[in-house]
Protein backbone atom coordinates (compact mmCIF):
# COMPACT_ATOMS: atom_id res chain seq x y z
CA UNK A 1 0.00 0.00 0.00
CA UNK A 2 2.75 2.42 0.97
CA UNK A 3 4.41 1.93 -2.41
CA UNK A 4 1.08 2.54 -4.17
CA UNK A 5 0.52 5.78 -2.30
CA UNK A 6 4.10 7.01 -2.60
CA UNK A 7 4.24 6.30 -6.31
CA UNK A 8 0.85 7.95 -6.89
CA UNK A 9 2.08 11.05 -5.12
CA UNK A 10 5.18 10.94 -7.26
CA UNK A 11 3.27 10.61 -10.52
CA UNK A 12 0.81 13.35 -9.59
CA UNK A 13 3.68 15.64 -8.64
CA UNK A 14 5.60 14.95 -11.81
CA UNK A 15 2.51 15.53 -13.93
CA UNK A 16 1.67 18.64 -11.96
CA UNK A 17 5.14 20.11 -12.28
CA UNK A 18 5.27 19.40 -16.01
CA UNK A 19 1.93 21.12 -16.54
CA UNK A 20 2.96 23.95 -14.24
CA UNK A 21 5.84 24.69 -16.59
CA UNK A 22 3.64 25.01 -19.71
CA UNK A 23 3.32 28.33 -21.51
CA UNK A 24 -0.44 28.87 -21.38
CA UNK A 25 -2.63 29.74 -18.45
CA UNK A 26 -5.03 26.82 -18.66
CA UNK A 27 -2.47 24.00 -18.56
CA UNK A 28 -0.78 25.79 -15.69
CA UNK A 29 -4.07 25.81 -13.80
CA UNK A 30 -4.37 22.09 -14.45
CA UNK A 31 -0.81 21.70 -13.18
CA UNK A 32 -1.68 23.52 -9.98
CA UNK A 33 -4.72 21.27 -9.59
CA UNK A 34 -2.63 18.13 -10.02
CA UNK A 35 -0.06 19.47 -7.58
CA UNK A 36 -2.68 20.16 -4.97
CA UNK A 37 -3.94 16.58 -5.31
CA UNK A 38 -0.38 15.40 -4.84
CA UNK A 39 0.32 17.59 -1.85
CA UNK A 40 -2.99 16.73 -0.19
CA UNK A 41 -2.23 13.02 -0.37
CA UNK A 42 1.35 13.72 0.75
CA UNK A 43 0.17 15.66 3.77
CA UNK A 44 -2.40 12.99 4.52
CA UNK A 45 0.28 10.33 4.27
CA UNK A 46 2.39 12.13 6.87
CA UNK A 47 -0.01 10.53 9.38
CA UNK A 48 0.99 7.12 8.00
CA UNK A 49 -1.53 4.75 6.43
CA UNK A 50 -4.24 2.77 8.16
CA UNK A 51 -7.17 0.75 6.87
CA UNK A 52 -10.56 0.83 8.59
CA UNK A 53 -9.31 2.91 11.53
CA UNK A 54 -11.33 6.04 10.88
CA UNK A 55 -10.87 8.64 13.61
CA UNK A 56 -14.54 8.46 14.53
CA UNK A 57 -14.59 7.46 18.21
CA UNK A 58 -16.54 4.24 18.47
CA UNK A 59 -19.14 3.95 21.21
CA UNK A 60 -17.95 0.38 21.91
CA UNK A 61 -14.83 0.99 23.99
CA UNK A 62 -11.29 0.51 22.76
CA UNK A 63 -10.43 0.67 19.09
CA UNK A 64 -7.48 1.68 16.94
CA UNK A 65 -7.62 5.04 15.22
CA UNK A 66 -5.47 6.50 12.53
CA UNK A 67 -3.74 9.86 13.13
CA UNK A 68 -6.54 12.44 12.79
CA UNK A 69 -4.34 15.53 12.76
CA UNK A 70 -3.02 15.26 9.19
CA UNK A 71 -6.58 14.70 8.01
CA UNK A 72 -7.63 17.97 9.58
CA UNK A 73 -4.61 19.68 8.06
CA UNK A 74 -5.47 18.28 4.63
CA UNK A 75 -9.06 19.48 4.97
CA UNK A 76 -7.79 22.97 5.70
CA UNK A 77 -5.32 22.68 2.84
CA UNK A 78 -8.04 21.50 0.46
CA UNK A 79 -10.29 24.40 1.33
CA UNK A 80 -7.50 26.92 0.98
CA UNK A 81 -6.28 25.52 -2.31
CA UNK A 82 -9.88 25.59 -3.53
CA UNK A 83 -10.11 29.30 -2.80
CA UNK A 84 -6.71 29.85 -4.38
CA UNK A 85 -7.57 27.87 -7.49
CA UNK A 86 -10.81 29.81 -7.87
CA UNK A 87 -8.93 33.09 -7.74
CA UNK A 88 -6.28 31.76 -10.08
CA UNK A 89 -8.92 30.70 -12.59
CA UNK A 90 -10.56 34.11 -12.50
CA UNK A 91 -7.31 36.03 -12.79
CA UNK A 92 -6.28 33.73 -15.61
CA UNK A 93 -9.54 34.53 -17.34
CA UNK A 94 -9.07 38.21 -16.63
CA UNK A 95 -5.54 38.19 -18.02
CA UNK A 96 -6.79 36.39 -21.11
CA UNK A 97 -9.60 38.87 -21.70
CA UNK A 98 -7.27 41.83 -21.16
CA UNK A 99 -4.38 40.54 -23.24
CA UNK A 100 -6.42 38.68 -25.87
CA UNK A 101 -4.12 35.71 -25.50
CA UNK A 102 -3.58 33.32 -22.65
CA UNK A 103 0.20 33.19 -22.75
CA UNK A 104 1.44 33.17 -19.19
CA UNK A 105 4.88 34.54 -20.02
CA UNK A 106 4.95 38.29 -20.56
CA UNK A 107 7.21 39.56 -23.33
CA UNK A 108 8.94 42.46 -21.59
CA UNK A 109 10.55 43.67 -24.84
CA UNK A 110 7.05 44.08 -26.21
CA UNK A 111 5.90 45.76 -23.02
CA UNK A 112 8.86 48.14 -23.12
CA UNK A 113 8.39 49.07 -26.76
CA UNK A 114 4.73 49.63 -26.05
CA UNK A 115 5.55 52.17 -23.37
CA UNK A 116 8.58 53.65 -25.16
CA UNK A 117 8.27 57.36 -25.62
CA UNK A 118 11.87 58.04 -26.45
CA UNK A 119 15.50 57.10 -26.11
CA UNK A 120 17.02 55.79 -22.92
CA UNK A 121 18.96 57.79 -20.37
Amino acid sequence: MEIIVASSIGVLTAGGVYMLLRLRTFPVILGIALLSYAVNVFLFASGRLAIDQSPILSPYGEANYTDPLPQALVLTAIVISFGMTAVLVMIGLGAYLEAENDRIDVDLEEANNASETGTRV
Binding site: T76, V87, G94, E98
Partner: protein
Protein backbone atom coordinates in the same frame (compact mmCIF):
# COMPACT_ATOMS: atom_id res chain seq x y z
CA UNK B 1 -5.17 39.53 28.47
CA UNK B 2 -6.79 39.17 25.03
CA UNK B 3 -4.48 41.89 23.69
CA UNK B 4 -2.38 39.46 21.75
CA UNK B 5 -5.21 38.26 19.52
CA UNK B 6 -6.54 41.75 18.82
CA UNK B 7 -4.31 42.49 15.80
CA UNK B 8 -5.95 39.50 14.15
CA UNK B 9 -9.50 39.75 15.41
CA UNK B 10 -9.94 43.49 14.91
CA UNK B 11 -9.31 43.50 11.14
CA UNK B 12 -10.93 40.10 10.80
CA UNK B 13 -14.22 41.48 12.09
CA UNK B 14 -13.81 44.93 10.55
CA UNK B 15 -13.05 43.69 7.06
CA UNK B 16 -16.31 41.79 6.57
CA UNK B 17 -18.25 44.80 7.82
CA UNK B 18 -16.46 47.02 5.33
CA UNK B 19 -16.68 44.53 2.53
CA UNK B 20 -20.24 43.43 2.97
CA UNK B 21 -22.09 46.17 4.80
CA UNK B 22 -20.33 49.33 3.60
CA UNK B 23 -19.48 48.14 0.10
CA UNK B 24 -21.64 50.78 -1.55
CA UNK B 25 -20.33 53.70 0.50
CA UNK B 26 -16.65 54.48 -0.03
CA UNK B 27 -16.64 57.30 2.51
CA UNK B 28 -17.95 55.04 5.25
CA UNK B 29 -15.47 52.36 4.26
CA UNK B 30 -12.63 54.90 4.36
CA UNK B 31 -13.60 56.09 7.82
CA UNK B 32 -13.92 52.53 9.10
CA UNK B 33 -10.68 51.39 7.50
CA UNK B 34 -8.77 54.41 8.80
CA UNK B 35 -10.21 54.01 12.29
CA UNK B 36 -9.31 50.34 12.28
CA UNK B 37 -5.76 51.03 11.17
CA UNK B 38 -5.25 53.74 13.76
CA UNK B 39 -6.58 51.36 16.40
CA UNK B 40 -4.19 48.72 15.10
CA UNK B 41 -1.27 51.11 15.55
CA UNK B 42 -2.45 51.78 19.10
CA UNK B 43 -2.75 48.07 19.82
CA UNK B 44 0.67 47.46 18.33
CA UNK B 45 2.14 50.13 20.57
CA UNK B 46 0.45 48.50 23.53
CA UNK B 47 1.81 45.10 22.57
CA UNK B 48 5.31 46.53 22.12
CA UNK B 49 5.10 48.04 25.58
CA UNK B 50 3.82 44.70 26.87
CA UNK B 51 6.61 42.75 25.18
CA UNK B 52 9.39 45.12 26.17
CA UNK B 53 9.36 43.65 29.68
CA UNK B 54 11.28 40.76 28.15
CA UNK B 55 8.68 38.15 29.08
CA UNK B 56 7.45 35.90 26.27
CA UNK B 57 3.66 36.17 26.42
CA UNK B 58 1.51 33.22 25.40
CA UNK B 59 -2.10 33.09 24.19
CA UNK B 60 -3.63 29.61 24.08
CA UNK B 61 -6.36 29.57 21.46
CA UNK B 62 -9.38 27.51 22.40
CA UNK B 63 -7.74 27.21 25.82
CA UNK B 64 -5.95 24.06 24.64
CA UNK B 65 -2.46 23.49 26.01
CA UNK B 66 0.51 23.71 23.67
CA UNK B 67 1.59 21.86 21.61
CA UNK B 68 -1.86 20.32 21.07
CA UNK B 69 -3.72 23.53 20.37
CA UNK B 70 -2.49 26.62 18.56
CA UNK B 71 -0.71 29.27 20.62
CA UNK B 72 0.07 32.87 19.83
CA UNK B 73 3.45 34.02 21.03
CA UNK B 74 4.19 37.65 21.73
CA UNK B 75 7.82 38.48 22.20
CA UNK B 76 9.78 41.58 21.27
CA UNK B 77 10.26 40.38 17.71
CA UNK B 78 6.61 39.70 16.96
CA UNK B 79 5.58 42.93 18.68
CA UNK B 80 8.12 44.83 16.61
CA UNK B 81 6.86 43.28 13.38
CA UNK B 82 3.23 44.05 14.21
CA UNK B 83 4.16 47.63 15.05
CA UNK B 84 6.11 47.92 11.81
CA UNK B 85 3.17 46.54 9.86
CA UNK B 86 0.55 48.79 11.39
CA UNK B 87 2.64 51.95 11.04
CA UNK B 88 3.39 51.21 7.41
CA UNK B 89 -0.28 50.39 6.85
CA UNK B 90 -1.36 53.73 8.26
CA UNK B 91 1.02 55.64 5.98
CA UNK B 92 -0.02 53.64 2.94
CA UNK B 93 -3.70 53.97 3.72
CA UNK B 94 -3.48 57.76 3.87
CA UNK B 95 -1.86 57.74 0.45
CA UNK B 96 -4.43 55.34 -0.97
CA UNK B 97 -7.28 57.53 0.22
CA UNK B 98 -5.66 60.86 -0.64
CA UNK B 99 -4.86 59.76 -4.18
CA UNK B 100 -8.20 58.01 -4.64
CA UNK B 101 -6.48 54.72 -5.45
CA UNK B 102 -8.90 52.96 -3.15
CA UNK B 103 -11.87 54.03 -5.26
CA UNK B 104 -10.46 52.73 -8.56
CA UNK B 105 -11.77 49.23 -7.92
CA UNK B 106 -13.96 47.23 -5.59
CA UNK B 107 -13.29 46.12 -2.03
CA UNK B 108 -9.93 47.87 -1.53
CA UNK B 109 -10.45 48.51 2.16
CA UNK B 110 -11.86 45.08 2.96
CA UNK B 111 -8.90 43.43 1.25
CA UNK B 112 -6.54 45.88 2.93
CA UNK B 113 -7.84 44.94 6.38
CA UNK B 114 -7.75 41.24 5.57
CA UNK B 115 -4.18 41.73 4.40
CA UNK B 116 -3.27 43.30 7.74
CA UNK B 117 -4.99 40.46 9.55
CA UNK B 118 -2.98 37.92 7.62
CA UNK B 119 0.33 39.67 8.20
CA UNK B 120 -0.26 40.19 11.92
CA UNK B 121 -1.41 36.60 12.27
CA UNK B 122 1.75 35.35 10.62
CA UNK B 123 3.89 37.43 12.97
CA UNK B 124 2.09 36.30 16.11
CA UNK B 125 1.62 32.58 15.64
CA UNK B 126 3.70 29.95 17.37
CA UNK B 127 2.57 27.09 15.16
CA UNK B 128 4.08 26.30 11.77
CA UNK B 129 0.89 25.08 10.12
CA UNK B 130 -0.97 28.11 11.40
CA UNK B 131 1.86 30.13 9.88
CA UNK B 132 0.96 28.50 6.57
CA UNK B 133 -2.70 29.39 7.01
CA UNK B 134 -1.94 33.03 7.66
CA UNK B 135 0.55 33.10 4.80
CA UNK B 136 -2.37 32.07 2.62
CA UNK B 137 -4.62 34.72 4.13
CA UNK B 138 -2.14 37.48 3.48
CA UNK B 139 -1.35 36.08 0.04
CA UNK B 140 -4.90 35.81 -1.23
CA UNK B 141 -5.62 39.29 0.06
CA UNK B 142 -2.50 40.49 -1.70
CA UNK B 143 -3.70 38.88 -4.95
CA UNK B 144 -6.82 41.00 -4.71
CA UNK B 145 -4.87 44.15 -3.92
CA UNK B 146 -2.32 43.39 -6.62
CA UNK B 147 -4.94 43.36 -9.39
CA UNK B 148 -6.96 46.16 -7.81
CA UNK B 149 -8.44 48.29 -10.61
CA UNK B 150 -7.32 45.85 -13.29
CA UNK B 151 -5.63 46.65 -16.59
CA UNK B 152 -3.70 44.42 -18.99
CA UNK B 153 -0.17 44.68 -17.61
CA UNK B 154 -1.36 44.46 -14.03
CA UNK B 155 -3.57 41.47 -14.72
CA UNK B 156 -0.74 39.59 -16.42
CA UNK B 157 1.70 40.46 -13.65
CA UNK B 158 -0.95 39.50 -11.11
CA UNK B 159 -1.40 36.15 -12.78
CA UNK B 160 2.32 35.47 -12.60
CA UNK B 161 2.38 36.58 -8.98
CA UNK B 162 -0.46 34.21 -8.11
CA UNK B 163 1.05 31.25 -9.93
CA UNK B 164 4.45 31.80 -8.35
CA UNK B 165 2.97 31.95 -4.88
CA UNK B 166 0.70 28.97 -5.44
CA UNK B 167 3.80 27.01 -6.31
CA UNK B 168 5.36 28.37 -3.14
CA UNK B 169 2.36 27.39 -1.03
CA UNK B 170 2.47 23.89 -2.46
CA UNK B 171 6.10 23.58 -1.48
CA UNK B 172 5.17 24.91 1.96
CA UNK B 173 2.71 22.03 2.38
CA UNK B 174 5.27 19.49 1.21
CA UNK B 175 7.67 20.90 3.77
CA UNK B 176 5.08 20.82 6.57
CA UNK B 177 4.09 17.26 5.69
CA UNK B 178 7.71 16.21 5.87
CA UNK B 179 8.17 18.09 9.11
CA UNK B 180 5.17 16.46 10.78
CA UNK B 181 6.19 13.08 9.48
CA UNK B 182 9.66 13.58 10.90
CA UNK B 183 8.81 15.13 14.26
CA UNK B 184 5.11 14.47 14.88
CA UNK B 185 4.43 18.04 15.92
CA UNK B 186 3.66 21.46 14.47
CA UNK B 187 4.33 23.70 17.44
CA UNK B 188 7.51 25.76 17.18
CA UNK B 189 8.46 25.30 20.81
CA UNK B 190 7.78 21.58 20.61
CA UNK B 191 9.93 21.45 17.49
CA UNK B 192 12.64 23.30 19.37
CA UNK B 193 12.65 20.36 21.77
CA UNK B 194 12.24 17.51 19.31
CA UNK B 195 14.56 18.59 16.49
CA UNK B 196 17.71 18.74 18.66
CA UNK B 197 16.93 15.20 19.85
CA UNK B 198 17.23 13.92 16.28
CA UNK B 199 20.64 12.43 15.71
CA UNK B 200 22.63 13.61 12.72
CA UNK B 201 22.57 10.16 11.14
CA UNK B 202 18.76 10.02 11.36
CA UNK B 203 18.13 13.58 10.24
CA UNK B 204 17.40 13.25 6.52
CA UNK B 205 13.68 14.05 6.79
CA UNK B 206 14.01 17.00 9.13
CA UNK B 207 16.84 18.37 7.02
CA UNK B 208 14.65 18.26 3.95
CA UNK B 209 11.85 19.97 5.85
CA UNK B 210 14.20 22.68 7.05
CA UNK B 211 15.65 23.45 3.64
CA UNK B 212 12.27 23.34 1.88
CA UNK B 213 10.85 25.77 4.44
CA UNK B 214 13.87 27.96 3.81
CA UNK B 215 13.07 28.01 0.09
CA UNK B 216 9.42 28.78 0.79
CA UNK B 217 10.36 31.77 2.91
CA UNK B 218 13.03 32.74 0.39
CA UNK B 219 10.36 33.10 -2.29
CA UNK B 220 8.55 35.61 -0.11
CA UNK B 221 11.81 37.32 0.79
CA UNK B 222 12.83 37.55 -2.88
CA UNK B 223 16.07 35.68 -2.35
CA UNK B 224 18.07 34.53 -5.36
CA UNK B 225 17.25 32.31 -7.28
CA UNK B 226 13.56 32.70 -6.47
CA UNK B 227 13.39 36.51 -6.64
CA UNK B 228 12.53 36.80 -10.34
CA UNK B 229 8.84 37.37 -9.69
CA UNK B 230 9.28 40.45 -7.55
CA UNK B 231 10.15 43.31 -9.92
CA UNK B 232 7.27 42.70 -12.31
CA UNK B 233 4.84 42.30 -9.44
CA UNK B 234 5.86 45.35 -7.45
CA UNK B 235 6.17 47.60 -10.47
CA UNK B 236 2.73 46.66 -11.79
CA UNK B 237 0.92 46.73 -8.47
CA UNK B 238 -1.07 49.84 -7.58
CA UNK B 239 1.35 52.23 -5.86
CA UNK B 240 -0.09 51.98 -2.35
CA UNK B 241 -0.16 48.21 -2.69
CA UNK B 242 3.45 48.15 -3.83
CA UNK B 243 4.26 50.28 -0.81
CA UNK B 244 2.39 47.90 1.47
CA UNK B 245 4.19 44.97 -0.15
CA UNK B 246 7.36 46.40 1.35
CA UNK B 247 6.34 44.43 4.44
CA UNK B 248 5.59 41.23 2.52
CA UNK B 249 9.22 40.54 1.74
CA UNK B 250 9.91 41.11 5.43
CA UNK B 251 7.40 38.41 6.30
CA UNK B 252 9.70 35.97 4.53
CA UNK B 253 12.74 37.32 6.32
CA UNK B 254 10.88 37.16 9.64
CA UNK B 255 9.87 33.56 9.02
CA UNK B 256 13.46 32.58 8.30
CA UNK B 257 14.60 34.36 11.46
CA UNK B 258 11.91 32.80 13.60
CA UNK B 259 11.80 29.25 12.31
CA UNK B 260 15.46 28.79 11.53
CA UNK B 261 16.58 30.04 14.92
CA UNK B 262 13.89 28.49 17.12
CA UNK B 263 13.07 25.20 15.40
CA UNK B 264 16.19 24.67 13.30
CA UNK B 265 18.51 26.86 15.28
CA UNK B 266 22.29 26.79 15.23
CA UNK B 267 23.87 24.02 17.25
CA UNK B 268 21.34 21.30 16.51
CA UNK B 269 23.13 18.14 15.39
CA UNK B 270 20.43 17.22 12.90
CA UNK B 271 20.46 20.36 10.80
CA UNK B 272 23.92 21.67 11.57
CA UNK B 273 24.89 24.57 9.31
CA UNK B 274 22.14 23.78 6.83
CA UNK B 275 20.49 27.20 6.74
CA UNK B 276 23.49 29.51 6.68
CA UNK B 277 25.40 27.57 4.06
CA UNK B 278 22.82 28.30 1.40
CA UNK B 279 21.45 31.57 2.66
CA UNK B 280 24.69 33.53 2.65
CA UNK B 281 25.85 33.07 -0.96
CA UNK B 282 22.29 33.41 -2.19
CA UNK B 283 21.94 36.69 -0.35
CA UNK B 284 25.20 37.94 -1.85
CA UNK B 285 23.92 37.22 -5.36
CA UNK B 286 20.61 38.85 -4.46
CA UNK B 287 22.44 42.07 -3.67
CA UNK B 288 24.08 41.92 -7.08
CA UNK B 289 20.79 41.20 -8.83
CA UNK B 290 19.20 44.17 -7.12
CA UNK B 291 22.08 46.53 -7.88
CA UNK B 292 22.29 45.49 -11.54
CA UNK B 293 18.55 45.96 -11.82
CA UNK B 294 18.65 49.45 -10.34
CA UNK B 295 21.34 50.50 -12.76
CA UNK B 296 19.80 48.66 -15.69
CA UNK B 297 16.13 49.54 -15.39
CA UNK B 298 14.46 51.49 -18.18
CA UNK B 299 11.50 52.36 -15.97
CA UNK B 300 11.14 54.06 -12.63
CA UNK B 301 9.02 51.56 -10.70
CA UNK B 302 11.05 48.50 -11.69
CA UNK B 303 14.13 50.44 -10.62
CA UNK B 304 12.62 50.86 -7.18
CA UNK B 305 11.52 47.23 -7.14
CA UNK B 306 15.06 46.12 -7.87
CA UNK B 307 16.35 48.33 -5.10
CA UNK B 308 13.95 46.40 -2.85
CA UNK B 309 15.53 43.16 -4.04
CA UNK B 310 18.95 44.55 -3.28
CA UNK B 311 17.92 45.64 0.19
CA UNK B 312 16.54 42.16 0.86
CA UNK B 313 19.92 40.81 -0.13
CA UNK B 314 21.67 43.05 2.38
CA UNK B 315 19.12 42.13 5.04
CA UNK B 316 19.50 38.40 4.43
CA UNK B 317 23.27 38.57 4.41
CA UNK B 318 22.95 39.74 7.99
CA UNK B 319 20.31 37.13 8.78
CA UNK B 320 22.48 34.38 7.34
CA UNK B 321 25.07 34.93 10.05
CA UNK B 322 22.49 33.67 12.62
CA UNK B 323 24.25 35.55 15.40
CA UNK B 324 22.62 37.98 17.84
CA UNK B 325 24.79 40.90 16.72
CA UNK B 326 24.12 40.34 13.05
CA UNK B 327 20.42 39.85 13.80
CA UNK B 328 20.31 43.21 15.57
CA UNK B 329 21.79 44.77 12.45
CA UNK B 330 19.37 42.82 10.28
CA UNK B 331 16.37 44.00 12.28
CA UNK B 332 17.48 47.62 12.13
CA UNK B 333 18.01 47.33 8.40
CA UNK B 334 14.63 45.59 8.08
CA UNK B 335 12.76 48.45 9.70
CA UNK B 336 14.70 50.97 7.65
CA UNK B 337 14.32 49.29 4.28
CA UNK B 338 10.60 48.77 4.80
CA UNK B 339 9.91 52.47 5.11
CA UNK B 340 12.50 53.41 2.50
CA UNK B 341 10.86 51.16 -0.08
CA UNK B 342 7.35 52.33 0.78
CA UNK B 343 8.49 55.96 0.62
CA UNK B 344 9.99 55.51 -2.84
CA UNK B 345 6.93 53.77 -4.26
CA UNK B 346 4.69 56.52 -2.93
CA UNK B 347 6.89 59.25 -4.43
CA UNK B 348 7.02 57.36 -7.71
CA UNK B 349 3.23 57.35 -7.70
CA UNK B 350 3.06 61.12 -7.22
CA UNK B 351 5.55 61.60 -10.05
CA UNK B 352 4.36 58.99 -12.53
CA UNK B 353 0.71 60.00 -12.32
CA UNK B 354 1.87 63.42 -13.52
CA UNK B 355 3.81 61.98 -16.43
CA UNK B 356 2.72 60.09 -19.51
CA UNK B 357 4.65 56.98 -18.45
CA UNK B 358 7.20 55.77 -15.94
CA UNK B 359 9.85 55.38 -18.62
CA UNK B 360 13.09 56.99 -17.50
CA UNK B 361 12.95 59.60 -20.19
CA UNK B 362 12.77 63.35 -19.71
CA UNK B 363 9.33 64.83 -20.05
CA UNK B 364 8.61 68.53 -19.56
CA UNK B 365 8.93 69.40 -15.89
CA UNK B 366 5.69 68.74 -14.04
CA UNK B 367 4.15 70.92 -11.40
CA UNK B 368 6.16 70.86 -8.16
CA UNK B 369 9.19 69.46 -9.98
CA UNK B 370 11.40 70.82 -7.23
CA UNK B 371 9.37 69.26 -4.45
CA UNK B 372 9.25 65.86 -6.11
CA UNK B 373 12.95 66.07 -6.87
CA UNK B 374 13.71 66.78 -3.22
CA UNK B 375 11.48 63.94 -2.00
CA UNK B 376 12.92 61.53 -4.54
CA UNK B 377 16.44 62.56 -3.59
CA UNK B 378 15.67 61.91 0.07
CA UNK B 379 14.07 58.55 -0.62
CA UNK B 380 16.90 57.57 -2.91
CA UNK B 381 19.68 58.35 -0.46
CA UNK B 382 17.75 56.43 2.19
CA UNK B 383 17.44 53.40 -0.06
CA UNK B 384 21.00 53.65 -1.36
CA UNK B 385 22.26 53.81 2.21
CA UNK B 386 23.66 57.33 2.17
CA UNK B 387 23.60 59.61 5.19
CA UNK B 388 21.94 61.31 6.91
CA UNK B 389 18.96 58.93 6.84
CA UNK B 390 18.88 55.55 8.53
CA UNK B 391 20.11 53.64 5.50
CA UNK B 392 23.71 54.55 6.15
CA UNK B 393 23.58 53.45 9.76
CA UNK B 394 21.83 50.24 8.75
CA UNK B 395 24.54 49.55 6.22
CA UNK B 396 27.30 50.27 8.77
CA UNK B 397 25.60 48.02 11.33
CA UNK B 398 25.43 45.16 8.84
CA UNK B 399 29.01 45.65 7.68
CA UNK B 400 30.23 45.92 11.25
CA UNK B 401 28.34 42.79 12.29
CA UNK B 402 29.95 40.65 9.59
CA UNK B 403 33.48 40.43 10.92
CA UNK B 404 34.34 36.78 10.32
CA UNK B 405 37.24 36.82 7.84
CA UNK B 406 35.29 34.31 5.75
CA UNK B 407 32.40 36.70 5.29
CA UNK B 408 34.05 40.10 5.12
CA UNK B 409 35.48 39.76 1.62
CA UNK B 410 32.29 38.79 -0.17
CA UNK B 411 29.75 40.54 2.02
CA UNK B 412 31.55 43.87 2.21
CA UNK B 413 32.36 43.95 -1.48
CA UNK B 414 28.80 43.04 -2.43
CA UNK B 415 27.21 45.56 -0.09
CA UNK B 416 29.59 48.43 -0.88
CA UNK B 417 29.76 47.94 -4.64
CA UNK B 418 26.05 47.26 -4.59
CA UNK B 419 25.28 50.56 -2.94
CA UNK B 420 27.63 52.37 -5.36
CA UNK B 421 25.69 50.97 -8.33
CA UNK B 422 22.46 51.84 -6.56
CA UNK B 423 23.59 55.40 -5.92
CA UNK B 424 24.63 55.86 -9.53
CA UNK B 425 21.39 54.27 -10.74
CA UNK B 426 19.23 56.55 -8.63
CA UNK B 427 21.35 59.58 -9.57
CA UNK B 428 20.91 58.87 -13.26
CA UNK B 429 17.19 58.31 -12.87
CA UNK B 430 16.73 61.41 -10.75
CA UNK B 431 18.72 63.69 -13.01
CA UNK B 432 16.74 62.46 -16.00
CA UNK B 433 13.36 62.81 -14.34
CA UNK B 434 13.83 66.06 -12.51
CA UNK B 435 16.84 67.91 -13.97
CA UNK B 436 16.91 67.07 -17.67
CA UNK B 437 13.18 67.77 -17.74
CA UNK B 438 13.76 71.41 -16.80
CA UNK B 439 15.67 71.87 -20.07
CA UNK B 440 12.56 70.96 -22.08
CA UNK B 441 9.96 73.57 -23.02
CA UNK B 442 6.89 73.43 -20.80
CA UNK B 443 3.96 72.43 -23.05
CA UNK B 444 1.15 74.84 -23.75
CA UNK B 445 -1.85 74.78 -21.44
CA UNK B 446 -4.12 73.41 -24.16
CA UNK B 447 -5.33 70.68 -21.86
CA UNK B 448 -4.36 68.04 -24.40
CA UNK B 449 -1.09 67.31 -22.64
CA UNK B 450 -1.40 64.99 -19.67
CA UNK B 451 1.57 66.60 -18.00
CA UNK B 452 0.28 70.10 -18.51
CA UNK B 453 -3.07 69.07 -17.11
CA UNK B 454 -1.51 67.46 -14.04
CA UNK B 455 -2.84 68.81 -10.78
CA UNK B 456 -0.36 69.73 -8.04
CA UNK B 457 -0.16 67.20 -5.25
CA UNK B 458 -2.23 68.12 -2.22
CA UNK B 459 -0.62 68.24 1.22
CA UNK B 460 -2.43 65.03 2.21
CA UNK B 461 -0.99 63.34 -0.85
CA UNK B 462 2.53 64.39 0.11
CA UNK B 463 1.99 63.73 3.81
CA UNK B 464 2.58 59.94 3.65
CA UNK B 465 5.93 60.45 1.93
CA UNK B 466 6.88 63.06 4.49
CA UNK B 467 5.77 60.70 7.24
CA UNK B 468 7.90 57.83 6.02
CA UNK B 469 10.87 60.15 5.60
CA UNK B 470 10.25 61.39 9.14
CA UNK B 471 10.29 57.80 10.35
CA UNK B 472 13.58 57.22 8.54
CA UNK B 473 15.05 60.36 10.09
CA UNK B 474 13.80 59.40 13.55
CA UNK B 475 15.26 55.94 13.04
CA UNK B 476 18.63 57.58 12.40
CA UNK B 477 18.45 60.09 15.25
CA UNK B 478 17.25 57.59 17.84
CA UNK B 479 19.39 54.80 16.47
CA UNK B 480 20.80 54.23 19.95
CA UNK B 481 17.59 53.44 21.84
CA UNK B 482 16.17 51.66 18.82
CA UNK B 483 19.06 49.27 18.53
CA UNK B 484 19.01 48.79 22.28
CA UNK B 485 15.51 47.40 21.84
CA UNK B 486 16.61 45.40 18.81
CA UNK B 487 19.59 44.02 20.70
CA UNK B 488 17.28 42.73 23.41
CA UNK B 489 14.96 41.48 20.69
CA UNK B 490 17.58 39.33 19.04
CA UNK B 491 18.86 38.17 22.41
CA UNK B 492 15.33 36.99 23.20
CA UNK B 493 15.09 35.38 19.77
CA UNK B 494 18.22 33.34 20.38
CA UNK B 495 17.13 32.33 23.89
CA UNK B 496 15.51 29.10 22.73
CA UNK B 497 15.08 27.69 26.21
CA UNK B 498 13.21 30.78 27.32
CA UNK B 499 10.85 30.46 24.39
CA UNK B 500 10.22 26.78 25.01
CA UNK B 501 9.58 27.28 28.73
CA UNK B 502 7.19 30.12 28.03
CA UNK B 503 5.17 28.09 25.53
CA UNK B 504 5.28 24.58 26.99
CA UNK B 505 5.78 25.54 30.62
CA UNK B 506 8.88 24.65 32.67
CA UNK B 507 10.34 21.19 32.14
CA UNK B 508 8.84 19.50 35.21
CA UNK B 509 5.31 20.57 34.26
CA UNK B 510 5.49 19.07 30.75
Amino acid sequence: MHWIILPVVLPALLAPLIGFVMRHDITLARVASMTGTVLLVAIALGLTALASDGVTHIYRLGDWPAPFGIVLVLDRLSALMVLLTSTLALIVLIHAIATGWDARGRHFHALFQFQLMGICGAFLTGDVFNLFVFFEVLLIASYGLMIHSGGKARMQAGLQYVVMNLAGSTLFLFALGTLYAATGTLNLADLAIRVPEIAAEESALVRVAAILLMIVFAVKAALFPVQFWLPATYSNAPAPVAALFAIMTKVGAYAILRVHTTAFGPGMPGIEGLAGNWLFPAAIVTIAVGAFGVLGSRHLTPLIAFSVVGSMGTLLVAVAAFSPTATTAALYYMVHSTFAAACLFLIADLVVTRRTSDVLYPEPATVQNGLFAALFFAGAIAMAGMPPLSGFLGKLLVLDALREPGLIGWAWTAILVGSLLTIVGFARAGSTLFWKSTALPVPQEDGTDAVAAAMPATSTQVAPVMLSLAVLAALAIFAGPVSNFLEETSAQLFDRAGYVNAVLGPVEER
